[in-house]
Symmetry: C2
Subunit: 478 residues, 2 copies
Amino acid sequence: MKRTKIKELLATAPTGQSVTVNGWIRSFRNSQFLSLNDGSTLQNLQAVVELNALDESTQKRLTTGACISVDGELIASLGKGQAVEVKVKSLEILGDCDPEAYPLQLKNRPSLEYLREIAHLRSRTNTFGAVMRVRHAMAFAVHKFFNDRGFSYIHTPIITGSDAEGAGAMFRVTTLDQANPPRDEQGHVNHKEDFFGRETNLTVSGQLEGETYALALGEIYTFGPTFRAENSNTTRHLAEFWMIEPEMAFYELKDNMQLAQDFLQYLVRYALDNCADDLEFLNKRALEEEQAKPQDQRSELSLLERLKFVAENDFQRLSYTEAIDVLKNSNPNKKKKFQYLIDSWGVDLQSEHERYLVEKHFKKPVILFDYPANIKSFYMRQNDDGKTVAAMDVLFPGIGEIIGGSQREERYDRILKRVNELNLPEKDLWWYLDLRKFGSAPHSGFGLGFERLILFVTGMTNIRDVIPFPRYPGNAEF
Amino acid sequence: MKRTKIKELLATAPTGQSVTVNGWIRSFRNSQFLSLNDGSTLQNLQAVVELNALDESTQKRLTTGACISVDGELIASLGKGQAVEVKVKSLEILGDCDPEAYPLQLKNRPSLEYLREIAHLRSRTNTFGAVMRVRHAMAFAVHKFFNDRGFSYIHTPIITGSDAEGAGAMFRVTTLDQANPPRDEQGHVNHKEDFFGRETNLTVSGQLEGETYALALGEIYTFGPTFRAENSNTTRHLAEFWMIEPEMAFYELKDNMQLAQDFLQYLVRYALDNCADDLEFLNKRALEEEQAKPQDQRSELSLLERLKFVAENDFQRLSYTEAIDVLKNSNPNKKKKFQYLIDSWGVDLQSEHERYLVEKHFKKPVILFDYPANIKSFYMRQNDDGKTVAAMDVLFPGIGEIIGGSQREERYDRILKRVNELNLPEKDLWWYLDLRKFGSAPHSGFGLGFERLILFVTGMTNIRDVIPFPRYPGNAEF
């Protein structure tokens, strides 16, 4: 008989109908009550075996982690904690699980650190099952949001020939013999003999390529892996992570800010509407984690309260210049509590400043815009004041920068001047500059780090715990 | 005023309402009729400028490729070929386009080969606009199909520590100094000093990691870039391409075959239902291309006919052994027309054989299953006959293999024996083998090459023309 998923069974009226359920044993109590999970939902299904109905050897094999198939009747549950249960008629063991060897069994409450070492099994825990189901829901919501608005999904290249954007250190991609690479007459490594006939790296951003499509299809987005070869061992950085980068023709900075807010609010609302069980569980988990902290470091809002707050309230918009004023006059600045004191216009903001604005001063997400040109990228549109660019950052509580974007400089002479001022390789950027030569248009875009979003929505605190197999310095296991 | 997309305007009843349209000029006839495209649809919008309403210098700047913004009234069109048009009240040039320099203007009908060299602009042509909108629709349909069925999207790693699957040559990922890498005491390159503390490569498949999630969440799929460092200069291979790999617990081979058929039919139907304009255009394009071929090499069915046929007809299922019988007794085999003659059981099938089965013998998509173990991968489930495995390939007209998959070997002793027979690195596969040790379950999966699907749906014939920026030997431009 075809199996029915537990998620479906839990939503079915029990009439004694015959059902087949497959799943993994989470617990087996009193030689009678099997708690089964099949990954379709956080919830377990109770399967009730008649006492002494199984021979002793089968009973012994019903251990945590074993995979079984059960035929039985779906009936209303007499016990507390579940509406329905399955009265077992027959039971088959599909895969044993030796409790003496099963890593998830060996430790009572395995730490998140330990679970990272067994990332191939951690998805069987409640926490990681919930995180990964939410991650799926968020990925789908990203595609649905853009598809509903007529954006086209564009796969920008992963292997790229240039480091034009300068967003960070890159990984080299090569097929040359590493021990003994071919050399040219000067003794330099001869990249012409490499697979692509040139030096190539893993992309740090699909933005520049994305812009070429925005100026053809109008509104596009990317959603793909990006890479940073930086030796960052933090709870906020990965060497391999996923980014979403919309680029839109005919959007000015204010349209870009509105899209960013609409997008984030849509995603958070989608999670609240579609992941209630998992979020409820993660909310409890986060509360427990909070309780281990000193009182003054705890969040004022619970995870669910934070999500609802973000979904329902406009983000605060203010210019960099206004933000500097707020920060200069803030208590932590005046009392020299900031590590980096704010004394003049033009400095880059640190995470402590962003958190102050979001968590203490405005107590809501903040969009900062019109940053000093000197601390931002060459492709951002130059404002008429001669010193700022039409950049924007969206700052979130507990996360800091979740989105960074800008209106792009569409004027050929302006961008060319900037490329040369910064000594960027004009000849590698020929195709990017072409966009400003042939039918240029005002356009804008931004980037959302997908894992930062998942951190925010799940309340997890280490970015290594919201991606299936994290990559960071010293780790590429699995 | 906020602009309205052309796709929307073309579906609006004209009542003389004021509208703003932005777009790129496709043509300007009789100093009066502007044909505008904004990428939202294949269709252009006609904007009518009153004769002599513009000064001469503005008229001169209304060249093909220039970007403009038009304010006017939406009225019923008097001319043929469109239901509505815009009567221009005012017009602004957003970006000029010098016709003497614009690459798309310089050649009358630029070849596909030439367009590959200007991949940053080719998306502005009707052909590539259509292909990329269809590509978007197919990507969205992939996510919708799986989401609707309760599958979770899993991002498997791009940078991986092992070449366990052996699916093909790999690209190395490294941050070591290429000219002068660190060496160990024996003079070998010291990989411990590399970013991840080991040798790493770009993934060739997410399957093995995907299986770890199937045995936790039940049904999952991947959709990400994969890589082959093979020196293939063909119309069917890319060094970087996107793959979709579902993996499902509790699926046997027959369930896997059914899912593959349901999936492909869903995608093709989705294209027919959602991309009518673009497919109509691509259908005509393909017919023109066909007419340049000798009569006997033309397809019997047009693109649209092929798509409808696949969407509506069951795929033919037959075992490898049955296929060998058909091929052995076929005319091309008996008349020695095959380059590789079929004389015995056990040989691998070549593309000529697959095409014969699909295009000549059955005249429909074919699913071959139960292949000889020796020509398939170690992880495929061993059948009781002792010589075949529960593998399957889906073969499509004009494309050949579009899907490859199998039931996976879930029995620990069986897979371990196979790993050792093939001298695969058991210690690198510890986590994969763990899945068979702890709560193993019957499970299956397959891989769909996304670009092969797009070739089939768009009728394009070179895989370099269905991905935004193709990567192949000697080419990583943009």
